[in-house]
């Protein structure tokens, strides 16, 4: 029994943190946020060089051949750095191809993805979080029609994986959907871009796996989002503690006031258990026997829901510890606040995700 990260995993995470400090410091994030024309290509390039673009892609296709747990550790670092990169698609699309794609499809797409030549996006919001504003995609005779909303990285992705309303998944090459079919959905979190995709007889190839593959993509996405929230929350806690140790009011550092200390203690007490849950949820996904994903799904759901709740609490509390400074743009704390805000809602708010958790256990119909 070994419930811990390996030495390699720790080194990878630490090294990624250093890479991000160079490639995506806060002022780089600010520029991305301020300019919708900025694609963040330089940041993604640096991370692709690091290997992140192919983190779960098998080595024979040019990737690192690592697990979802490794990807989650990367996601945690990205959340901590509020990095402006389309990482979710870089993990989910290879999973879709490995589990549901043909050998030809794998050979066609995985090496390109691994090299970071193109990015990928996965459109499953309607199937997971429910359909809004009449969205939903249908597939007939190799053509997609309809709309998919809230697609992370969808504006620029060179490969699209799309769920239809029957729960089947489809692969669409990026060039099949021109810019008129991709609309930016400007959201609260300016470090990641969501897209609305409009399909109009858009050619697509089917993937195998159906609802089971869809569940796997959902579970992996939930784990990645949970890890991102863990990292963002941990960063906010650390910033709050550091600020409280420095900021003086009433002739004391505010970190010596019991109210402030307890706010920080409560954040730590809520956040720390999330770490183990995220690890375990990723581990369960990696080790789930194919087709028997009940436990992995349940753990992913709980990781997503719990980090959402804790994320909101930490976002608010860390901001309060910073006093007025917390709500200004000067410190940029709000980038983390909003990252946690998006993570909470993306692919289902905690209430919806918990309801799915209940259903997975037969506790709800």
């Amino acid at each position: 029994m070994d419930f811990a990260l390996t030495q390699d995993q720790r080194m990878m995470q630490e090294s990624l943190v250093r890479t991000l400090a160079d490639a995506s410091p806060l002022d780089r994030v600010r520029r991305f946020a301020d300019d919708r024309g900025d694609t963040g290509a330089d940041v993604w390039r640096a991370l692709a060089e690091f290997g992140l673009a192919g983190v779960v892609i098998p080595e024979e296709h040019g990737g690192l051949g690592l697990t979802l747990l490794d990807a989650a550790l990367a996601s945690e670092a990205l959340g901590a750095a509020v990095a402006p990169v389309p990482f979710m698609g870089a993990v989910l699309a290879p999973i879709a191809l490995m589990r549901g794609g043909s050998a030809a499809q794998q050979a066609q797409w995985l090496p390109k993805l691994a090299r970071g030549e193109i990015t990928a996006a996965v459109a499953i919001s309607e199937s997971v979080a429910g359909a809004r504003d009449g969205a939903g995609v249908t597939a007939t005779n190799g053509k997609l029609n309809g709309k998919a909303l809230f697609v992370p990285g969808g504006v620029a992705a060179g490969l699209l994986i799309v769920a239809d309303t029957a729960g089947e998944l489809h692969l669409t090459p990026g060039e099949a959907l021109d810019s008129s079919g991709r609309t930016l959905m400007p959201g609260i979190d300016e470090t990641r871009r969501l897209a609305e995709l409009t399909f109009d007889d858009t050619p697509a190839e089917p993937l195998c796996g159906g609802p089971e593959l869809l569940a796997a993509l959902r579970d992996a996405a939930w784990v990645l989002i949970a890890a991102d929230s863990l990292g963002a929350g941990q960063a906010m806690l650390e910033k709050a503690v550091a600020y409280a140790k420095e900021r003086r009011q009433f002739d004391r550092v505010i970190g010596s006031f019991q109210a402030v200390k307890h706010m920080c203690a409560e954040m730590a007490a809520e956040l720390e258990p999330c770490r183990s849950l995220v690890w375990y949820a990723a581990y369960a996904f990696d080790n789930a026997p194919p087709g028997v994903s009940g436990e992995a799904s349940l753990m992913a759901a709980h990781a997503k829901a719990l980090t959402s709740e804790v994320g909101r609490f930490v976002a608010r509390t860390a901001t309060e510890v910073h006093g007025g400074m917390g709500i200004t743009d000067l410190l940029g704390l709000h980038f983390w606040f909003k990252r946690l805000g998006l993570n909470r809602q993306l692919l289902g708010g905690p209430e919806r995700v918990r309801e799915i958790a209940a259903r997975l256990q037969g506790l709800s119909v």
């Binding site: 909303l149 400007p186 009011q249 004391r252 743009d329 805000g341 909470r344 809602q345 993306l346």
Partner: protein, 392 residues
Amino acid sequence: MDLTETPEMAAFRAEVRGFLAARRDDFAGGAAKDVLGWQRALIAAGYAARTIPKAYGGYGAEPDILKSRIIAEEFIAAGAPRGMSGQGISMLVPTLLEVGSEEQKIRWIGPTLRGEIIWCQGYSEPGAGSDLANLQTKAVEDGDDFLISGSKIWTSTAHAAQMMFCLVRTEPRAAKHEGISYVIIPMDTPGIEVRPLKTMTGGSEFNEVFFTDVRVPQSAVVGGRGRGWFVANTTLKHERGMLGDPNATEARLNALIELMKTETVDGEALIANPIFRDRLMQLQGRILAMKFNGLRLITAQLTQEPVGIAALIVKLQGCELNHQLAALAIDALGELGILYSDGPHLRAQGRWQWNYMFDLGLIIGGGTAQIQKNIISERGLGMPREPKPAVA
């Protein structure tokens, strides 16, 4: 308990209603066509500056909280713009009335009431937030003048204001609370720089103001040299009363109910979700309680009864409830709740998201929730202050 209206009040209500009906054209669409003209008309009728003496440009009525409430209700019902507000009218004017010199009252109150002068407030500093008495902006004597240097933060209307009322340290050797003066400064005085302060909402609801050797005559002090702390505390009471208005919160609750009835996910109305519905009901209960708490406070003001805790909790609860309403709206909207700024799927112009963030600022500003709890426990419950540390 008797919430029915007396004949006298019913008559007053009819009078207000008549006034508004006759002037419906002046505020088509909810905004006054001629803002300053509308303000003068309201003062003349007694619906703005109501209790300010005539000599200083007000209407000169006796305070009557019921009539004030009737005015507020009828203006809301008619969709009519209220009299001007802002820190000049709500904070400077009461302060001048209480401690200003006759000359200051004559000079400043009238034009302020008529909207001819916009004011901003210079209290907080980067190093003096919760601990306001720690302010460092210094005013050094230079003949009959002061030379002011330092900076202020959270000055909400500084970019548009002609004047500022401001706290500065005039007696550097006096004790912390005793070396401060309250001064009035024209914003076009050389040496003043205003920089917008961008916040998490993406807007710049506040500014920073920097002073470099800003020359102000010593006659600009209000309420006496070194008395600024006590003068400002009079005014702060007025500010704290402004936050946590239960009517505004109830209006937001109703907007949220409407949203949850009309908005759908997978074709089902949000209100049909039992989790969100229960949270809505929880908030409704708490909002109703604060609304009635507000009525209780109004009556207590009328009868001059002490109310203690019922008044001390208004800011804490009011800001929190507004924040919670926005949180529920965002949660119920699901992924739609994370949209902001523009686009066809955005709901209510992103107002719920804006409120969620701005209201968090209000929880922090004007006395953080932690300071509020200190106040409630000390003034409301008579608990001891924290002991001073042995070593600073």
